[in-house]
Symmetry: C2
Subunit: 396 residues, 2 copies
């Protein structure tokens, strides 16, 4: 895989898309069986929805494969190069990581999306999906493997881990020397297992406890638009807002208006919030630390930009943090002093996403600082190699 040309890798992905479409009857049948099992075992509707495939979702998966084929190949990119005084020519070149491991939950589209990004960047991928989706994943992986083989590449570039017992995850994260980069996509239990037990290198796709801070000098109309979008446009995802901080000078005008605009959202506020929005329930300290992923929003009134920055430093998971302000100095301080993968000025946190930012498809959003931070695309699935060419130079 590492040595395959872009043309061949692209051909493999286009073939895989075709095979996925051809196998749609088998895939939907396998998915129906997974769904029936999940329903019987009492899975909640949101889990069933994540698991469900239909013609439209399958078409989107095939389109995703073709879209990744159309992206630029990061492998071989020379990111910098120079000549030393002794004539040595040095260049830094992007190369594949090797073997990527993905642990994920019940969305079968992750199987094809991840495989596409890993193959395009010259990696092999080990996919460990959830037990609930094993039938769907098996059918999707078979189609992908058939497509890859059609292009003359090894089918084993995409390997589904068939043993979905809980013990496998534990063994999986300890495949040091086999997996070059593990990407755990799941809840806090998975993340903590990885941190505690992994012997493999990993990049954590962690929680997003994202804040929107309305500065003293925020335009109210813009503030309302951004808060409503950040909270309600898709509340179940990591870049949705979870806490609203409002400068005390703006609170009287902003909070009642926002409460009205946020109709179906449960507000959990501090005392000063509740004085202005009587319908808000009392926020506990835990509420400020929670990624609700739901139509629920923690709210606090702060006395200053400093207090807002301190609140964020205390509760942030380092994902995405936004300020709404017309004051340049406040924007500059917020951008400089808030420590997160993404800081936004006068824009919705929902933009922190690979495709929204123009980076192409993403394999996750890193909340760690090493290797990748923020949306991870093809480039984050590579490492670099120093190439040093001489004419016989030796060190003095």
């Amino acid at each position: 895989m590492a040595l395959a040309s872009s043309a061949v890798k692209d051909e493999a992905l286009v073939h895989a898309a075709g095979c996925l479409e051809e196998a749609s009857a088998e895939i939907l049948a396998a998915n129906a069986a997974d769904l029936a099992r999940a329903e019987q075992s009492g899975s909640p509707p949101s889990a069933l929805d994540r698991l469900r495939l239909d013609e439209r979702r399958l078409a989107a998966m095939a389109a995703g494969l073709r879209a990744v084929a159309a992206l630029a190949d990061p492998v071989g990119e020379v990111t910098e190069g120079w000549v030393r005084p002794n004539g040595l020519q040095v260049r830094r070149v992007r190369v594949p990581l090797g073997v990527i491991g993905i642990v994920y939950e019940n969305r079968p589209n992750v199987t094809s999306d991840s495989a596409a990004l890993c193959c395009k960047s010259g990696n092999a991928v080990l996919l460990r999906g959830s037990a609930s989706a094993i039938g769907s994943n098996r059918a999707v992986a078979a189609a992908l493997r058939a497509g890859i083989e059609k292009a003359g590449l090894p089918a084993d570039a995409v390997l589904l881990v068939e043993d979905v017992s809980h013990e496998t995850v534990d063994r999986f994260v300890r495949l040091g020397g086999v997996i070059d980069c593990l990407i755990p996509r799941g809840g806090p239990a998975l993340v903590s297992l990885v941190r505690e037990r992994a012997t493999v290198p990993y990049v954590i796709d962690g929680d997003g406890n994202c804040h929107v801070y309305l500065d003293e000098h925020a335009d109210l109309e813009m503030a309302e638009r951004i808060v409503v979008n950040a909270k309600t446009q898709r509340p179940s995802v990591c870049n949705a807002a979870e806490t609203l901080l409002v400068h005390v000078a703006l609170a009287g005008a902003a909070l009642p208006r926002l409460a009205a605009a946020l109709g179906g959202v449960e507000l959990r506020g501090d005392e000063r919030t509740r004085a202005l929005v009587p319908s808000a329930v009392t926020a506990s300290d835990a509420d400020y630390a929670t990624e609700f992923l739901d139509l629920r929003l923690a709210v606090a009134v702060v006395d200053s930009l400093d207090e807002a920055i301190e609140h964020i430093a205390r509760y942030s998971t380092g994902h995405s943090e936004a300020i709404v302000t017309s004051d340049l100095a406040a924007a500059q301080r917020f951008v400089r002093e808030v420590d997160a993968a993404a800081v936004l000025v006068n824009a919705s946190t929902r933009f922190v996403d690979g495709s929204e930012l123009g980076l192409g498809a993403e394999i996750g959003i890193s909340t760690q600082k090493l290797h990748a931070r923020g949306p991870m695309g093809l480039r984050e699935l590579t490492t670099c190699k120093l190439v040093i060419e001489g004419t016989g130079q030796v060190r003095q």
Copy 2:
């Protein structure tokens, strides 16, 4: 530290250099006490040499601090930036990692070198040196802290871990949430402890089992120069060569000549090597996997470039691998197919070093693939932050 300007950080380092010079009597006295203790406990001469400070070495440490002050500050560098169709302005900015942890062995110069690089890149550093050097490290750290304070920065940006019991390392590697990046600089036992136990993110400065491959079409004079330099110029360091691979077509002419040129070096060879160099002892499989760090070299004759590449894939630690050849196709294949932090063509492996490559001082050489690969300088002590500026954009 993260918010300090380059000017203030540079001032701190220059003050630290002055304080180090002023404290030379105390530092040398503390070092003499450490040395006496180490001698009593029967440390080998090489360990005593690594521990020893003198006027010249202290002057080099002070010069190192001033040299780092003179390097460009990576913090704030905009590595890329673009505008989205909806008008969002996106840029990726380098920011400090936060708190760096270093675990190292008995060279007291690592205390000042590491502190300089961490401070310059806006980080705080926790230094965990060895028990044998605790007196020297305490005296060096005190001088550095005094210098940092003179510039108005917090002395605690440089913190020496005073408890040097073995249990501390175990606790140190589990300071998740405190240490943003751990750099273990030590032997296999430390590396394996980190891989098994660490909850903190880390970059491994690992072994260098470096190979030099003499291709069928290698210039013999150049080959001799490179092999002698790679093996003997400083055998105790990670970028020294440990194994020599020779194409069978060149072996008859090359091996006796190289054996003569490598006078004081013990050769451990396979059968074909020993047929040409009777003085060579028989190499075991373990010899090919060993980083000797000594005047000892494993040697094997290979039938082809493929066999050389396979041998390297089997035994390499992913540090630095060199080919000597005049054949373009062989050079191209070696560069593409060998998986290591650095691949060299017609140059000594000894060049894989931050200063030799013009990257400035280095805090280690990463043999892992995530975050940093190869020599790690100031840039590798940073992460990035996405800054997204809008005019009220929300996601559709």
